[in-house]
Symmetry: C2
Subunit: 229 residues, 2 copies
DNA sequence: AATATAGTGTGTATTTTTTACACTAAGTAA
DNA sequence: TTACTTAGTGTAAAAAATACACACTATATT
């Protein structure tokens, strides 16, 4: 985030690529800037790292301030530091991504002051982004594509209880390709990190699917072993 | 690198984990500090990012200043920013790793002023490191372990012409486990990124092995396809 | 010249994993 | 009761991974 520029030689900030899933589409959170440079442009939410916080703490704080969310899986993935990436001075930024389940119960808190508004926009139809934020986003998407093949991050995008079809949908969206239903189920179940519940989907006008839950305990036991899509 | 501390709110530096291979062992480059804090301790080489250089440029410059080497594959892998990682102030550091072939033709340039001396030390027997440098190193090793399975970085550790046995040796050292000779050869050859030369190893007192070269052209064509160990 | 030594280089059978592919079952809505 | 929509399941074929042992060749030694 670059809207505040104290007169320093260099500024260190964090920008977040927040991937959200509403059950249908993958979206990211963008803000519409209210200040120069790039006034009226869409940009990734971010902020400056405080003097007494660690990087992860800072990222959590920023996420909280922008969305009201806590306890979300976040991870740094790349530092961007081109000397000219910000027109007004040297700003090195560390990019984090987070995966968030949208809709349903909690509504996201409105975004703070420095932006006109914030919006979840589908990644299939993004506007031009301020600064080098397109690059930051691109690298973030690339990252989660690789990551979702080896780590159980897909669950972060889903409600606690979900169906296998929903899970497959997430994988297909992130990876950008169709997967075979039977093979997907065979594989994901074989990892042994899902707990089948005694519950069924509700409110659908067709046969209700069985609900599953991600089993952190079992996953912890697997640690070290690679899972792979 | 933290030996210079201008009176700023925060400093942004780069630290390098330089992995070297001399044909026998994996080593990393360490310097012995000549200043407080951590005077006389071993530390990773690093330096402060200049105002007009990109992060990658800065890393290349630092590598060059410390070793005289150019054109080495380097990559950033993690930012460390605990507010107390440096006893004298806030220093956020970005870690890079590089892979370097040791010995043979070029001798490394002596290290610059701020260290008593620099040395390549085998990773199997490292001293206590200054600051959080052990953590930085650990994460770097982890990184190249994962990376070597999917990217052709092993070649950076070897001379231009190498034998398959040498290549296997590098994989075994990095991954920390023995590999089967026949299976290794089958697999690595099947990737199609090696060019078999009409040349044999020289100066050995046993049957000389065929030399190979990494074929960047062929590798470029593969791009997008995953290779995997 | 014969022999010892040390690393090179190769093939196959078995197991495991991946892929391709289509129908019946269950629940809801009309 | 029928039509509709998604859930849920198995198998055969292909590909990839693994386990495994011996003959070859260049040099050094006697």
């Amino acid at each position: 985030m670059e809207q505040i520029l104290p007169h320093l030689d260099s500024v260190f900030s964090i920008d977040c690529v927040l991937f959200g899933f509403d059950g249908k589409e993958l979206k990211i959170l963008l803000i519409e800037r209210n200040e120069e440079p790039f006034k009226d442009w869409w940009a990734l939410p971010g902020n400056i790292v405080g003097p007494d916080e660690s990087l992860d703490q800072s990222a959590s704080r920023i996420l909280y301030e922008l969305t009201g969310l806590r306890g979300i899986f976040m991870e740094q993935y790349y530092a961007f530091g081109d000397p000219h990436r910000h027109p007004q001075g040297r700003v090195i930024t560390l990019a984090y991504y987070a995966l968030i389940r949208l809709g349903g119960d909690k509504e996201l808190r409105p975004i703070s002051t420095y932006a006109k508004r914030a919006n979840w926009l589908p990644i299939t139809d993004l506007p031009k982004l301020a600064f080098d934020h397109q690059k930051i986003y691109d690298k973030g998407l690339e990252k989660i594509k690789r990551r979702i093949k080896h780590q159980p991050i897909a669950f972060e995008l889903l409600p606690e209880k979900f169906t296998l079809t929903q899970l497959q949908h997430v994988y297909e969206l992130v990876l950008g390709k169709k997967l075979d239903k039977r093979n997907f189920r065979k594989k994901i179940v074989s990892f042994g990190v899902l707990k089948e519940l005694d519950e069924k989907q509700k409110g659908v006008s067709y046969r209700a699917a069985t609900l599953y839950r991600f089993d952190k305990r079992k996953y912890a036991k697997l640690f070290g072993k690679e899972i792979s899509f």
